[in-house]
């Protein structure tokens, strides 16, 4: 529970359906020596979750996950940036913290299932469970849940998957849940002020600092302040003068080089992804037609997903797309079904 409307309504629906419900909240890491608190578990959020639990008549426990969150999420976040990729810490948090550390706690507490306020659905197909997109397409969160597996789906309940956000708000209001609207996204919850560049400056010891900016043909156009300060597709703040707008095309951490070029060079039709996880289906042996999302909020693009080895795929898009970013997940869909996904490490 986060104290927000989604997890609160999820808990309320479960209570109404007759489940014996235990409220749990994770105490996540925040940076020592700063006044900031982790936005996923601020004192206000915790007080709110407690009030909701009291109203629903369920017990509530806050589980300390500060160390494991630091080791599994924050450290990798820092390392990834240092190596020139743009990580999505929510993916690691879902895989290692929520659906492993917290799930293990829930099971130890005697729970049969763990439910969250994620917008996604599950459907049993014979012996397999399919992860499906939510009914509310704007809110669908199957993207971050692609890191689960069949065993975990068997323990999962997503009570909100069949509802729209609007309906969820109406339920909250109908049953007088004491939930306030909070900012939707808690991305980078552990960076109090949201300024990840400052955070990296304070916490990254591996930072190599500035290096050259080259164009596609290898000509030096200027110098950059550190690869972590740039993201693929970025145009502003490059500090180079050029008659035509230049965009970040690539970050080469092996030579600490930022490669820039004209907008049309941004488009790529192939990406490679590693740590691939097939959440709903068996690992495919042959190429699969799929719709692919390259960021949580990106549109779906038609592509062919071609297995390279057990944990690596090549994704061949039908047309060129912009903004393929190493470190983000590419997630594969067929209609409603989220097949799986992996972490982008290259494009061409």
């Amino acid at each position: 529970m986060s104290g927000g409307v989604d997890s609160s309504v999820a808990a309320a629906l479960l209570v109404e359906q007759g489940y014996e419900v235990i409220g749990m909240m994770l105490r996540l890491w925040s940076e020592p020596g700063t006044a900031s608190v982790n936005r996923c578990c601020s004192p206000e959020a915790m007080a709110q979750a407690r009030r909701v639990s009291a109203q629903l008549g369920i017990p509530f426990y806050a589980v300390d996950a500060q160390d494991v969150f630091y080791n599994q999420v924050v450290e990798h976040f820092i390392d990834d940036y240092t190596q020139g990729v743009t990580p999505n810490p929510c993916l690691r948090c879902n895989r290692h913290i929520r659906w492993e550390f917290l799930l293990n706690h829930a099971i130890a507490f005697g729970a049969d299932f763990m439910a969250t306020g994620h917008y996604a659905r599950l459907r049993h197909e014979g012996s397999r469970i399919h992860l499906l997109k939510a009914v509310d397409k704007d809110k669908d969160q199957s993207y971050v849940l692609h890191v689960l597996n069949q065993e975990k789906l068997g323990k999962a309940i997503f009570p909100l998957g069949a509802y729209t956000k609007k309906e969820v708000r109406e339920i909250a209001s109908d049953i007088n849940l004491p939930v306030a609207d909070r900012p939707e996204s808690q991305d980078l919850c552990f960076i109090g002020d949201g300024d990840y560049r400052q955070f990296l400056e304070r916490n990254s010891t591996l930072g190599v600092g500035g290096g050259p900016i080259l164009n596609h043909s290898g000509e030096t156009l200027g110098t950059h302040s550190g690869l972590e300060n740039f993201t693929i597709g970025q145009r502003r703040g490059l500090g180079i003068s050029s008659p035509i707008p230049m965009y970040v095309l690539e970050k080469d951490s092996s030579t600490n080089t930022l490669i820039v070029g004209e907008q049309e060079l941004l488009g790529r039709d192939t990406l490679f992804a590693e740590n691939v996880n097939w959440v709903s289906i068996e690992s495919p042996k042959e190429a699969l037609p799929a719709k692919v999302k390259i960021r949580y909020k990106s549109s779906e693009e038609t592509a062919s997903v071609i297995p390279v080895d057990a944990e690596t795929v090549k994704v061949q898009f039908d047309s060129k797309i912009n903004g393929i970013t190493p470190g983000q997940a590419a997630v594969f869909y067929q209609d409603e079904i989220c097949l799986g996904g992996g972490i982008i490490y290259a494009s061409e």
Binding site: C41, V63, H105, A108
Partner: protein, 389 residues
């Protein structure tokens, strides 16, 4: 919540109000509701109840009624004792040194530290042994001419150890320094006689001995220099302003009478179960230790530390399994830090975070303890497995 199916083993945190106490209190809410300071007969009825209650408490602790000050809780009593005496002693004889133990309740230690930070007093902590017990010789060694007050807890809430208050009191008296003891835990189980204990001030709180929450006592020996910290009307010998909380004062007196008149009987019942818990836990759980003294401890109190156990998780899992216990480092926000008391025992972090307190009450049954002892080892090992390697 399923509190009717959960077994309460946390009577050191609080107790249910005894039905006889509830009945004694009831008429004072809406029948004899007068203000005890009023002239009329409504006021007189309330005043009778107030003074009867004061006499009951005074009789049981061996004081005179005018040495009893009713407060709103044990913490307020501690505050009044420390602030009241410290300021008065500094004014009257320039004494600005405060000597306390490191195993005090926060109501004493945080108050003392604020007196140091904001008001220029000097706070010195006495050493304690491995059981958290103060050596009277250390008091003799550290007490000074300019010591304003010494405060040593009677029986510690977290680890149950009982301090040699009487011996410490002798030393203080010989040196002309006032001794305060927080007996909020102690008075529920131990005889509290102000002359046997050689103390000048004692804090009590009703809810630890089957009385209501929100009512306490400070005993102040006649002649003790002390200022009020809550000023206003002249209630409580000018030491504690505020309209008397008559129903709660009546409840406190009734509960104290019940606790003090049969504490030996209660004690016998507890001792056997307590020692069963201590022996069985230490036998059946690897890497477990008792905290506090094995015998010089509260009769209803067993406390432990387990190596590499997250105390909060342990408490949550025990709760989910149907047992309500407590821990020295418990924190409902899930941000564990070892308590000051456990820190003062020089425990490493891998031990100090895994604390558990089991405290028994009048309604505790043998089969509940058997069930608890059957469940605990399994839960401890589950909690150990939850810590990622």
């Amino acid at each position: 919540m399923r509190t009717n199916s959960i077994i309460f083993l946390d009577f050191a945190s609080t107790t249910p109000v005894d039905q006889r106490v509830v009945e004694a209190m009831m008429p004072y809410f809406n029948q004899m509701y007068g203000n005890s300071s009023s002239t009329h007969q409504f006021g007189q009825l309330a005043d009778h109840a107030l003074e009867d209650s004061r006499r009951v408490v005074a009789d049981f602790i061996g004081s005179t009624p005018n040495e009893i000050v009713f407060t709103s809780c044990g913490s307020e009593s501690d505050n009044l004792a420390l602030r009241g005496v410290a300021f008065a002693e500094r004014d009257q004889r320039g004494a600005a040194h405060i000597l306390i133990s490191p195993v005090e309740h926060h109501a004493v230690s945080i108050t003392a530290l604020q007196l140091q930070e904001l008001h220029g007093f000097e706070v010195e902590f006495l050493p304690v042994d491995q059981y958290g017990i103060v050596d009277p010789d250390e008091v003799a060694r550290r007490i000074r001419k300019d010591t304003a007050i010494v405060s040593v807890i009677h029986a510690n809430n977290e680890i149950g150890s009982i301090n040699p208050i009487s011996d410490i009191g002798e030393i203080c008296r010989a040196r002309g320094v006032r001794l305060h003891t927080d007996s909020v835990q102690g008075a529920a189980h131990l005889p509290v006689n102000v002359d046997d204990l050689n103390v000048d001030l004692i804090s009590l709180g009703a809810h630890k001995f089957y009385g209501p929450k929100g009512i306490g006592v400070l005993y102040v020996r006649e002649g003790t220099p002390i200022y009020p910290i809550l000023t206003g009307g002249g209630q409580e010998q000018n030491l504690r302003a505020g309209t008397h909380n008559t129903p709660y004062i009546v409840g406190l007196a009734k509960a104290f009478e019940l606790a003090q008149s049969d504490h030996e009987e209660r004690q016998t019942k507890y001792l056997q179960m307590r020692d069963q818990i201590i022996n069985q836990v230490l036998d059946s759980i690897p890497d477990s230790r008792l905290t506090g003294h094995p015998t010089m401890r509260l009769p209803n109190h067993a406390s432990f530390i387990f190596k590499n156990v997250d105390g909060n998780t342990l408490l949550m899992m025990l709760d989910a399994a149907g047992y309500a216990c407590s821990s020295g480092s418990a924190c409902k926000t899930g941000d564990p830090e070892p308590s000051d008391v456990l820190t003062s025992l020089d425990l490493s972090r891998e031990w100090a975070l895994g604390s558990l307190r089991v405290s028994l009450g009048q309604i505790t049954k043998q089969e509940q303890i058997d069930g608890f002892l059957g469940t605990l080892p399994n839960i401890v090992s589950q909690v150990r497995e939850l810590i990622p390697q």
